[in-house]
């Protein structure tokens, strides 16, 4: 074990612990932008710098291994000055329109500016001009709000494996980009939206949820995705009894299967819930026209038709094609019905296609 003193408090940590974790154990709230426990370390945003006695420069705590007898101050004057200046530098390039920004209320840039009292940037000069039109239906990309933490690049590579984006150019011209800075739809992007999940600011947001409600206005209802049998956990964002979006719950306790990662359907394909096209009662077709029916009537009709087909053509003239969108138990019952009640092995499932 290593002995450290953090903000005057003595703590012990196992060898190999990173300083950021040690600070958190000691109860210090160290701000971070680029740090993400699910992703490889970048050490680039420098917000997590802390003062370590005897070290020449401030240390980025997320990439600094703990050493025995370290004495650390997480809010020293030099540390606070560095964080404030970094925030001012980011503000100077930022498209500040918090009043209409989707991320207001859950934006790290906003939170840290509030925390450190950074109301304006003394470095205001030329702004970035990074954003270009991307007409995809899902992901809004406003790189004039980007803070270059590269969490999206790492998530795209390390969580999804799509490798659709990287960093192009260098210096302050550097920006997140697909190959040849083209549209996402022309890239290897699968529109899973993991980039939105990890983006700490308003640079990436969901077009589907746009203008439908801010994070703090929504109740988050933990549920399981209905699209397939994987069983991903997601949060339905509910405002005024309407689902207005889906967000990730990255806590492995609540989201053991996917730890927040979703696919395009789970993250963006929730608009069917309140769709007017959605069926709410069974329909029976008579003379080429559908009419509403009760479940009892519909099931009786289906059962009698199946029976008559079986009698006339034999059980193997019937097949059942089951869906990934129903539960395992329902799938089990479906094949049981075919084998036991109908008497055929003609059972298949969309997941095999």
């Amino acid at each position: 074990m290593l002995n450290l003193t953090i903000n005057g408090q003595a703590i012990q940590v196992p060898r190999g612990t990173m300083l950021l974790d040690a600070c958190q154990m000691a109860g210090a709230d160290v701000p971070t932008f680029c740090y993400d426990p699910q992703l490889h370390l970048a050490g680039s945003c420098r917000m997590c710098v802390v003062e370590v006695q005897g070290r020449h420069n401030l240390q980025a705590s997320c990439v600094t291994p703990c050493v025995d007898n370290m004495v650390v101050d997480t809010e020293s004057p030099a540390t606070v000055e560095a964080r404030k200046i970094i925030l001012e530098l980011l503000l100077a390039r930022h498209n500040i329109n918090c009043h209409v920004c989707e991320k207001t209320g859950e934006c790290k840039l906003q939170d840290y500016c509030y925390r450190y009292g950074v109301d304006d940037s003394r470095f205001a000069g030329e702004k970035g001009h990074f954003t270009s039109e991307d007409p995809n239906p899902f992901i809004e990309r406003d790189y004039d709000k980007c803070i270059m933490c590269t969490r999206c690049v790492r998530a795209c590579d390390e969580i999804t494996g799509a490798q659709a984006i990287s960093v192009k150019d260098r210096g302050h011209h550097a920006k997140i980009s697909t190959v040849f800075d083209g549209k996402l739809a022309d890239s290897t992007c699968v529109f899973c939206g993991q980039c939105i999940m990890v983006c700490p600011v308003g640079a990436l947001s969901s077009k589907v949820s746009m203008n439908k409600g801010r994070a703090y206005q929504c109740e988050k209802v933990l549920t399981t995705c209905t699209y397939c049998g994987t069983g991903c956990t997601l949060e339905l964002n509910v405002k005024d009894n309407q689902v207005v979006g889906v967000s990730s719950n990255r806590d492995p306790v609540y989201s053991p299967v996917n730890q927040g990662a979703l696919c395009v359907k789970g993250r963006f394909g929730w608009d069917f819930i309140h769709s007017e096209d959605r069926l709410t009662t069974p329909l029976i077709k008579e003379n080429g026209q559908f009419r509403a029916a009760s479940w009892e009537e519909a099931l009786d009709l289906a059962a009698s038709k199946l029976k008559s087909i079986k009698t006339e053509y034999g059980p193997d003239s019937i097949a059942l094609f089951s869906s990934a969108r129903v539960t395992n138990e329902e799938n089990y019952l479906a094949q049981k019905m075919m084998r036991a009640a109908i008497g055929t092995n003609n059972v298949d499932h969309c997941a095999r296609l």
């Binding site: 200046i85 980011l90 003394r122 210096g171």
Partner: protein
């Protein structure tokens, strides 16, 4: 040239750097022979004892650096940093043009010490002709048998000053964007392709054959005690003899300018000198009687760095020169960390405003705080050093800034 002490450049223009035979005729590859006869620990001790320190930005003891390489690893690499990007610097090119075989021998000595079979020379993209020369030199050395089973491959950079930073250089050899890695882990433990790697520059490697041949004590006796040996320096700017020299490290800066350099061009007066390249501090007249060695330079808030010496005469506009330098750093920042990516941009903006006579005293305060944060919090040496020219000129030439400010 009087006052020079030529070790690395003793046979300049007398031997063909491409040909191992030429080099062997003047005593070349004797040091490697000796190194191979020693056990590895003694070899590293010998290099440590010589006091050889890196001829680049950090001035780290070379033998010490090698001693960090773990012995258990199967693959280890020797990497030569030939990415001398500091404006005003061309000493590594001169060493290669005059004595490339000494570099190869030095790398092979390092390979012997750390038990490596593969070396890389990362040559800056501005020198494609040097890639050719080095390839010929390696071929000749291999054919002569001098290198034994140690192979050296030349890789070419593509115009990125930041790749002079050892981890950015490693990233570039691996085929990535030249963005520095955070340290630790240091390359000695996990470097090229995550294997233990020693990175030294051309001049550092080229000293080794002479240390091995003549002994550590001989080397330690040359120049300044804490930074022994010779240093190849390149003189540029308003100087009569804008060329290169090899001098002992206790040589005085004043003598560099007035003895070797022949004084200020056209009989003008001296104003300032920037040592170590564009990331170095500007030094005023009052500090000229300082030896050029690493520690003496550090003591006056400057750095020896690459050994580039840019001399400015009395007619030069310091603010204009520093404005240009700030544009250099804006251009060369890799963009990975916030303080450097955004800071170099804003430094250039403010410097241009001052230079154009459109700035007010608050702009100087902004520069000062920005520079402090960049030094304290940037990820690598580039961002930490970028404000040094601004700071040093604000310290010694404040008047030149003041007279350009708008005061109400």
């Amino acid at each position: 040239m009087a006052n020079e002490k030529r070790v690395l450049l003793e046979y300049a223009d007398q031997i063909d750097p491409r040909k191992a035979e030429d080099y062997i005729k003047v005593g070349g590859y004797k040091g490697l022979e000796k190194a191979r006869s020693m056990n590895r620990r003694d070899l590293i001790e010998e290099v440590k004892k010589s006091g050889l320190r890196g001829r680049g930005g950090a001035g780290f003891n070379a033998g010490m650096k090698w001693s960090f390489v773990p012995q258990y690893a199967d693959t280890k690499y020797v990497v030569c940093n030939f990415d001398e990007g500091e404006p005003g610097t061309y000493k590594d090119r001169i060493i290669c043009e005059k004595n490339a075989q000494a570099l190869l021998e030095g790398m092979a000595i390092c390979a012997t010490a750390i038990d490596s079979k593969q070396g890389y020379i990362y040559c800056r993209g501005e020198y494609p002709f040097m890639v050719k020369l080095l390839n010929d030199a390696v071929q000749s050395a291999k054919a002569s048998g001098a290198l034994g089973d140690f192979d050296i491959e030349i890789r070419m950079g593509a115009g990125a000053y930041v790749c002079g930073e050892e981890t950015a250089l490693i990233e570039s050899i691996e085929g990535h964007r030249g963005e520095p890695r955070f340290k630790p882990p240091f390359p000695g433990v996990s470097g090229l392709w995550s294997q233990p790697t020693v990175v030294n520059n051309v001049e550092t490697f080229a000293c080794l054959p002479y240390i091995l041949t003549n002994g550590a004590d001989w080397f330690a006796g040359i120049g300044a005690a804490s930074y022994p040996g010779t240093k190849v320096i390149t003189l540029t700017g308003d100087i009569e003899n804008p060329t290169y020299f090899e001098v002992p490290t206790d040589y005085l800066l004043r003598d560099v300018i007035y003895k070797l350099g022949g004084g200020i061009k056209d009989g003008k007066k001296f104003k300032a000198v920037q040592v170590g390249g564009t990331s170095g501090a500007f030094i005023p007249e009052q500090n000229l009687d300082t030896p050029i060695d690493f520690d003496s330079m550090a003591a006056i808030g400057a750095s020896l760095g690459s050994g580039a010496v840019l001399v400015l005469d009395e007619s030069r506009d310091i603010v204009d020169v520093v404005t240009r330098i700030s544009k250099f750093f804006e251009h060369e920042s890799c963009g990975k960390c916030n303080p450097c990516r955004e800071g170099t941009w804003r430094c250039r903006e403010i410097m241009e405003r001052i230079n154009a006579g459109k700035a007010c005293p608050e702009d100087i305060e902004k520069l000062t705080v920005l520079s402090r944060v960049m030094k304290n919090a940037a990820l690598c040496g580039l961002g930490q050093a970028a404000p040094i020219p601004i700071d040093s000129t604000l310290k010694y030439f404040k008047q030149e800034y003041s007279c350009k400010l708008i005061t109400l």
